[in-house]
Amino acid sequence: MRIIVFNCGSSSLKYRLIEMPGERQLAGGEAERVGPKTAEPARIVHQVGDVKEIVQVEMPDHASAFTQVMRLLERDPSLVPDAIGHRMAHGGPNFTAHVVLDDAVMAELERIQVLAPIHNPPAVRLIAACRQLYPRLPETVVFDTVYHATIPEVARTYALPGALAAKHGFRKYGFHGTSHQYVAQEAAKLLDVPFADLNAVSCHLGSGGASLCAIVKGRSIDNTMGYSPLQGLVMSTRSGDLDPAAALSLLAREAGNEKSVEAMLNRQSGVLGLSGVSADIRDVLSRLSKQGEVSEALTVAAQVYLWRIRKYLGMYLTVVGRAHCVIFTDTIGERVPYARWAVTSGMEPFGLEMDCEKNDQGGSLPVDLSKPGSRVRILAIATNEEVAIARFSYSLLSATSARRERIAS
C-alpha cells in the first residue's frame, strides 16, 4: 500500500509517499509559499529517489498545492497513492485515537479548529480538498495529541474551578505526541526492552517547537506543552512558561487585544525575543562559540533556553522514577551536541553519564551517547513523524479492510 502523508503548515505542505508495510520512501517534497502571492514565487521541491526537481507554480491555497503535488506523482503510475494520511496538531478532548476519515470525523475536526487556530485550520481545509478531489482515496487523521491521552488526571488538570475548566475544555492536551511515541518505540528496540515496559524522558527539541515527554511503561504521563503549544520550554519564537499574571498584565496594557498578546508570546518571544537576532538556537550557540563575539543577549538566550530544558528533564526523570533512557530528537536534539551536553552535565545523581567524546563526534543515528556504566542511557534518535503517520494509517486501514472482508464473507 502506498500512503501519502501530508504535514500541513500555515504556508507550506510537506509530503512523503511511503510504501507500507516496508516503510520505503518512494517520493517526497514540500510545497512552499502556499497562500497569497509573496515576493518570491511559490514552488514545489519534489524528490523521487535521488532526483530532485523544483516546480514553480501558483498555489493560492492548500487545495491547489495538493492538486499540484498529485499531478507530479501521477506522472509515474508507480507513484499513485492508495491512501492519504494527514497530520493534525490538535485532536481536542474527543479524539483519543487516530481515525479513518468519515463525515462524523470531518464534522468534529471542523468543530475543534478553534483549539489550534494556527495549526488545525489549514490541515482541515486540505482534508476537505482531498475528499472533494479524490473521494475514493481512503484517508486517515493522525493527531499529535493522541499519544498524550494517557496523561493522568493529576498531570493534565489545571488548578481552576472544576465546572469552568470542564465547560471550556481547559486542560493539558500535550503535543508532539507522534514524534515522542515514534522515538520511544525506536529506543525500546535499541535497548531491547519491550515498548510496554519502557520508562523514558523524550526530548523533542525542534528548531521551531520543542517539548519533553515523560513516559512510563510506553505511555505518556506528562508533556511540557499544555492546553496549547505555548506552555513549557523556551522555543524558537514562543516564550514557553510565563507567569499568568504577566500575560494578563500584558493583555491589559494591550487594551484587551488577545491576538496581539498571543502574537507577542507565540511569534516574537523565545530564542528570537531573547537574542534579538535569530529564532534558531543553533545560530545563537554558534555565534557564542566564535572567538571575540561577546553578547549579553546571546548569552542570556542560550542560558535560559538550556536551563529550562534541564529543569524539566529533572522534573520528568523524577516523576518517571527508574528511567531506562533519555532520548534526544528533532533538529536540535539530533544535531547539536552542545545542547545535549549542557542539559545532562552534572546530572550524574539522576543516573546520566554522557560519553562526551561520542557526543561530540555525533555520527549516524540512532546512537547511544552514554558511558558504559550510565544507569540511564542517553540516546539520540532521528524522529520520523511521516513514517509514524504511515504506520498508524496502514494499521488503521488494514484493520478496516479486514473488518469489511469479514462482513462480506
Binding site: V154, A159, D243, P244, R253, S269, R310, K311, V319, G321
Partner: protein
C-alpha cells in the same frame, strides 16, 4: 528589646509581641480592612501596652511580600524609605499601600517605636539570570519589569540557615545543595546552594508556581488569555479567578486549607491531595536538577506540621530516581512561625538613633489594576 510584629493580610491582621525572646501576646484581628487600619492598630497598641511591651525598647516589625531590587535587606521605615516603598506600589498596589498605611498607624499609636520592614523577595534578589529571566524580548521584560522572584524568602532563609548548620556539624566543607519546601497557603519550593537560591517555583508574582489554597499556580499562558477572552472574564476578572477562586479550593469546590488537603486520607479531597503532591514532586525534581542532586531537605511554613506527609510521599521517589543523596528519612523541619522570624530580624538590626518620620500624603493605591497580588 521588645518586638511587636504586625502582618496585615487581605482578610485578617496578625500580630505577635515578644519581650526579648519570650512571646507575650499573639492574635488575629479578622475583617480589619473594612474599618481601615486605625481601629485595628489601636486595638494592637492597647494589647501592647497591657502586656507591658510598650514599656521597654519596642520595635515594630512588618513584612512586605515584595521589595524588588530596591530592597535587598530589611529597612527602618523613615521618610526616605517610605517614599522608596511607595514608588514600588505599581507592582503590588493593594499590598504595599496597605503596608504603608499600617506602618503610619503603628507610628501614630506607638510613636516611640521604630518600624522595620523585612521583604520576602530580598532572599531572591540575586537569582541567576538564567533562572530569573522569562523568554520574552528584553524590551517587553523591561516594560513589564518582568523577572522571577520568590515570595517566601523569610521562611526559606531561616530554613536554609538551619539546614546549613546541620550540614556543617556533619563535617561537610562544600556548600549544601538544599531543597527548601515552604508549606504555606501559597506553597513554594526553592533550590538553594549554600545560602544562594538558584531556582524557585514562584514567578513575577506569587501566582505562578505551585498551586495554593486559592491561586492556580502555573498554567498555560494561553489559558490566562482564554479566561479573559473566551470565558469572558476580562483581564481583571481572570486575575481574580486565578488568584482567589482557583487552586486547591477551586478543585475542591469549596474553601480548603493546604494542611487539610495534605492530611486527607478519604473523601473528595484525596483527588486534590494527589494533584498537589504530584505538583510538589515535579517541582522538587526540577529543583534537584538545578542543584545537580540534593544533599539536604528542609520544610518550613505555616503548615510545616504536615511536612511528614509530604516527606513520606515525595522523598522516597526523589531518592529512587537518584536525585536525593541522603536517605529519604533524613529531613529537617523549621517550625518557627513567621511572627518569630520577623521578631528575630528586628532584634538583630541596629535601630536608628534618631527617627524623624513624617507621614507622606495618602497612598491612594489603584485597586482596579491589582495584577500583582
Amino acid at each position: 528589646v521588645n518586638t511587636l510584629v504586625i502582618i496585615p493580610g487581605r482578610r485578617s491582621l496578625r500580630y505577635a509581641g515578644f519581650k526579648a525572646n519570650e512571646e507575650s501576646c499573639m492574635g488575629t484581628i479578622r475583617g480589619w480592612s473594612w474599618q481601615g487600619p486605625s481601629a485595628a492598630l489601636e486595638e494592637v497598641a492597647a494589647i501592647a501596652r497591657a502586656t507591658g511591651l510598650a514599656d521597654g525598647d519596642l520595635r515594630i516589625a512588618l513584612r512586605s511580600i515584595y521589595g524588588g531590587a530596591e530592597f535587598p535587606s530589611p529597612v527602618w521605615l523613615d521618610q526616605d524609605n517610605e517614599k522608596r516603598l511607595l514608588d514600588l506600589t505599581r507592582h503590588s498596589p493593594i499590598h504595599l499601600s496597605t503596608l504603608v498605611d499600617v506602618a503610619r498607624e503603628a507610628r501614630r499609636v506607638l510613636p516611640r517605636a521604630p518600624v522595620i520592614v523585612a521583604f520576602e523577595t530580598s532572599f531572591f534578589i540575586d537569582l541567576p539570570v538564567r533562572e530569573r529571566t522569562y523568554a520574552v524580548s528584553p524590551a517587553l521584560a523591561q516594560k513589564l519589569e518582568l523577572r522571577r522572584w520568590g515570595f517566601h524568602g523569610i521562611f526559606h532563609s531561616a530554613a536554609v540557615a538551619e539546614a546549613n548548620r546541620t550540614w556543617r556539624r556533619s563535617g561537610q566543607e562544600l556548600p549544601a545543595r538544599i531543597l527548601s519546601i515552604c508549606l504555606d497557603p501559597q506553597p513554594e519550593i526553592a533550590a538553594v546552594l549554600g545560602q544562594c537560591p538558584i531556582t524557585v517555583t514562584s514567578g513575577a508574582t506569587p501566582l505562578e508556581g505551585l498551586p495554593g489554597e486559592t491561586n492556580s499556580g502555573e498554567i498555560d499562558p494561553s489559558l490566562a488569555l482564554a479566561l479573559a477572552g473566551e470565558a469572558g472574564l476580562g483581564p481583571e476578572g481572570a486575575n481574580t479567578l486565578l488568584t482567589s477562586e482557583s487552586g486547591l479550593s477551586g478543585l475542591a469546590g469549596r474553601r480548603v486549607r493546604l494542611d487539610e488537603v495534605l492530611a486527607a486520607t478519604a473523601g473528595d479531597l484525596v483527588r486534590v491531595r494527589e494533584f498537589l503532591l504530584y505538583r510538589i514532586l515535579a517541582a522538587a525534581g526540577a529543583a534537584a536538577a538545578a542543584l545537580g542532586g540534593v544533599d539536604s531537605v528542609v520544610f518550613s511554613g505555616r503548615y510545616s506540621a504536615v511536612a511528614p506527609v509530604v516527606a513520606r510521599e515525595i522523598l522516597p521517589r526523589l531518592y529512587d530516581c537518584g536525585a536525593l543523596l541522603c536517605p529519604p528519612t533524613h529531613w529537617e523541619m523549621l517550625t518557627t512561625p513567621l511572627e518569630r522570624l520577623l521578631a528575630e530580624i528586628a532584634m538583630v538590626q541596629q535601630a536608628p538613633e534618631s527617627y524623624p518620620w513624617q507621614p507622606m500624603p495618602d497612598t491612594g493605591g489603584d485597586f482596579e489594576t491589582e495584577f500583582y497580588p
